[in-house]
């Protein structure tokens, strides 16, 4: 994160939060763990650059933060991270401006970590993950939102049977019929290996729909199930990755995981088709298919 404040000065500034502890940071954002309102919460700190440094960037970051908060508020369900007790507040530290607010603290590991550890999930775990992702996308859809950054890093696995997985980070969520927040038209928000092929279409903002999230969910499920990304390869540069996303057909999931039910593998394979129309559009039908697996 740019201009990350010293923990002591932040703790001093946020006197209503106890035991502040840095977790991770990147871009304009840092996440801390802290005790507030009688429980542990994830404290999010967003650096707001001044207009002098980069015209318009300030507005974009404030806009995105407020949209993320609104989106989380609108999608109140077990499948998506919830807001904490701290409402957004603009603070100044050492002459820099930040927005601070809190989300619930999720005590678990993200799927990226599990993939790195070589964890091989069984069908029950994969069904739970698929169920969570599809339900979450259904909530986004009802609220005219596209998450645009579903990936293993943004899915937390919890040790909780009622709530095994939770989706995080609606920081670049796209609001259908909303005002564009991205300043540069050529910029494509998201994480390249998880971006749906239609995101590379020059008119993508006109045509984007929830099936882009279904694609990212398919890639996440495939990667978690097999330990291998379906499209990209290590050491590929950005352009090669982009080419592969648009043109390369993935190896069917069943080739990596012959132990999984073939129908389950087919559903995942179908989600990562290039043409959105070739991905199943009915989330209800997808949920039914996942439940039907033995």
């Amino acid at each position: 994160m740019q201009n990350i404040p010293a923990l002591e000065s932040l703790q001093h500034k946020l006197s209503n939060i106890q035991n502040l502890e840095f977790i991770k940071g990147g871009g304009f954002k840092a996440v801390y763990k802290g005790f507030v309102g009688g429980k542990t919460e994830a404290i999010k700190l967003i650096y707001i650059p001044s207009d002098i440094e980069n015209e318009g960037l300030r507005d974009e970051i404030i806009g995105r933060t407020l949209r993320e908060i609104d989106s989380i508020k609108a999608c109140d369900c077990d499948y998506i991270v919830r807001l904490g007790s701290l409402s957004p507040e603009l603070i100044t530290l050492n002459g820099n401006e930040y927005i601070v607010y809190s989300e619930e603290f999720l005590d678990g590991v993200d799927l990226r970590e599990r993939i790195i550890q070589g964890h091989t999930p069984d069908i029950k775990t994969l069904q739970c993950l698929a169920f969570t992702l599809f339900e979450a996308i259904s909530f986004f859809k009802k609220n005219d939102l596209i998450h645009r950054d579903i990936k293993p890093d943004n899915v937390i696995a919890l040790q909780c049977a009622e709530r095994p997985f939770v989706i995080l980070d609606l920081g670049i969520a796209f609001k259908l019929h909303g005002t564009a927040l991205t300043r540069l038209s050529e910029f494509r928000p998201g994480t390249l290996p998880y971006m749906a092929p239609e995101m590379f279409n020059a008119r993508f903002r006109e045509t984007l729909d929830y099936r882009s999230d279904l694609y990212s969910a398919g890639v996440t499920l495939y990667e978690y199930a097999s330990g291998k990304h379906p499209i990209t390869r290590r050491r590929d540069d950005e352009y090669t990755t982009m080419y592969r996303i648009i043109n390369s057909a993935p190896i069917p999931l069943a080739s990596h995981r012959p132990d999984l039910p073939i129908e389950f593998c087919k559903v995942i394979d179908q989600l990562i088709k290039k043409l959105p129309a070739l991905r199943p559009s009915s989330i209800e039908m997808l949920l039914k298919k996942i439940k039907e697996q033995p």
């Binding site: 099936r211 179908q270 043409l275």
Partner: protein, 399 residues
């Protein structure tokens, strides 16, 4: 996959016989040829033979665009309450679209059809056109307007598309993306792929529809719509029926005249053509094509497999059969192809279809070895189109 009769001029007892024989499981009636006052009794006659028969009626609203032309030939269409001439500009207003849909559903509500086909216009050349926008609005509004009638039958939105439109894959893909993600979609689609008004000669229209990219696009429509939970009924699909069924189509249809075997807007315009009726033909499954009854006799002496070995073969044994028999032989033949070429999943169907095309190609090679000349409709390039169409479909459907 089900096979329906494509109703048209002079049905006689053909449909009843087809249903009686079990080669067809329903009919798509033509509002242009169906007299309103006879609809109830015609439906009753079909139900008396098979109460499982599916009976639909194409309102043929797409012909409304021809209604203002001095040489239009609309038959009974003008007698139906829902049919009125519409100019394209009128239909750009969605309230008029609701009016057309509502009037059609109100009329159809009074008849014991098993499912309802909703009206739409024809998309002649491109999915990036005013017509395509109007057609999408018809599709979008189909279910909301139908729901207001309280009718519980299934409703099929019409997709009448000129073959040219399928050639622009980007626009076609964008159109598919739109119609597969509707908030309140119809139960299925009634798909017609055909020629526009400029394609006057039937052999030209046929060669344009039997183009690899058109076949692949038509298959993609069936595959994509089925995958998204829709039932697809293909009008005028004739010999392409097993290819469409193999990738998810619910039903295909064909009839007794050339204009019931392939769709063309030209049929709503009076043309100078006329003359004698075409020679009766035989649909041979091994070559996936029709040959003249006289050719069948000559070829069968050298290649007996040219005969299907089905019941209606006997009608061709003693020279030219009665014309009313021709379509019964067609239905019997296509039903047989459907049973043999459509597998339990798409991959299996494609394997069977590829084998059938290879077999057809090999038979053509044998035929040419005997030096037997075949007429223009029996040409071999058609097999190349089927093979290439299947190959292109696999590529665009990402199979």
């Amino acid at each position: 996959m089900k096979l329906f009769a494509q109703h048209g001029y002079g049905p006689g007892d053909k449909i009843l016989n087809g249903i009686q024989e079990g080669s067809i499981s329903g009919v798509i009636l033509s509002a242009r040829y169906q007299k309103k006052e006879k609809l109830n009794s015609d439906i009753e006659n079909i139900i008396n033979i098979s109460n499982n028969a599916e009976i639909l009626m194409d309102p043929e609203i797409y012909a409304c665009i021809c209604a203002n032309m001095p040489d239009s030939q609309l038959g009974q269409l003008v007698d139906w309450d829902f049919f009125r001439p519409h100019r394209r500009a009128q239909l750009e207003d969605t309230s008029n679209i609701d009016g057309v849909l509502g009037a059609t559903f109100t009329t159809m509500a009074g008849f014991p059809l098993t499912s309802i086909i909703a009206p739409n216009i024809f998309i002649p050349r491109s999915f990036n056109s005013i017509e395509a926008v109007i057609a999408k609005n018809f599709i979008r509004r189909t279910m909301p307007v139908f729901a207001q009638t309280g009718d519980t039958r299934h409703v099929f939105a019409t997709l009448a598309i000129g073959h040219h439109a399928l050639l622009d894959r980007d626009e076609f893909g964008a159109f598919l993306n739109d119609i597969t993600a509707l908030d309140n979609p119809p139960d299925g689609f009634y798909v017609l792929i055909g020629g526009g008004m400029a394609d006057e000669r039937t052999d030209i229209t046929r060669s344009e529809i039997m183009h690899a990219d058109v076949i692949a696009g038509w298959m993609l429509l069936n595959f994509t719509l089925k995958m998204n939970g829709f039932k697809v009924i293909n009008g005028c699909s004739d010999i392409l029926t097993p290819l469409l069924g193999g990738v998810g189509g619910y039903a295909g249809a064909t009839g007794w005249w050339t204009n019931l075997r392939m769709f063309s807007m030209n049929k709503y315009i009076r043309t100078a053509s006329g003359g004698r009726q075409p020679v009766v033909r035989y649909l041979s499954n091994i070559i996936l094509n029709r040959i003249k009854f006289s050719e069948r006799e000559a070829i069968a002496a050298l290649i007996p497999e040219i005969n299907n070995g089905l019941a209606h073969d006997s009608d061709y044994e003693s020279g030219e059969p009665e014309r009313r028999v021709e379509v019964l032989q067609t239905w019997e033949s296509i039903k047989n192809l459907n049973e043999h070429l459509i597998g339990s999943n798409v991959e299996e169907s494609i394997r069977r279809l590829e084998n059938a095309i290879k077999r057809a190609d090999a038979t053509y090679t044998r035929l040419s070895g005997f030096g037997l000349p075949l007429d223009i409709e029996t040409n071999r390039e058609y097999i190349t189109s089927l093979r290439e169409g299947l190959k292109t479909f696999k590529q665009i459907a990402e199979i």
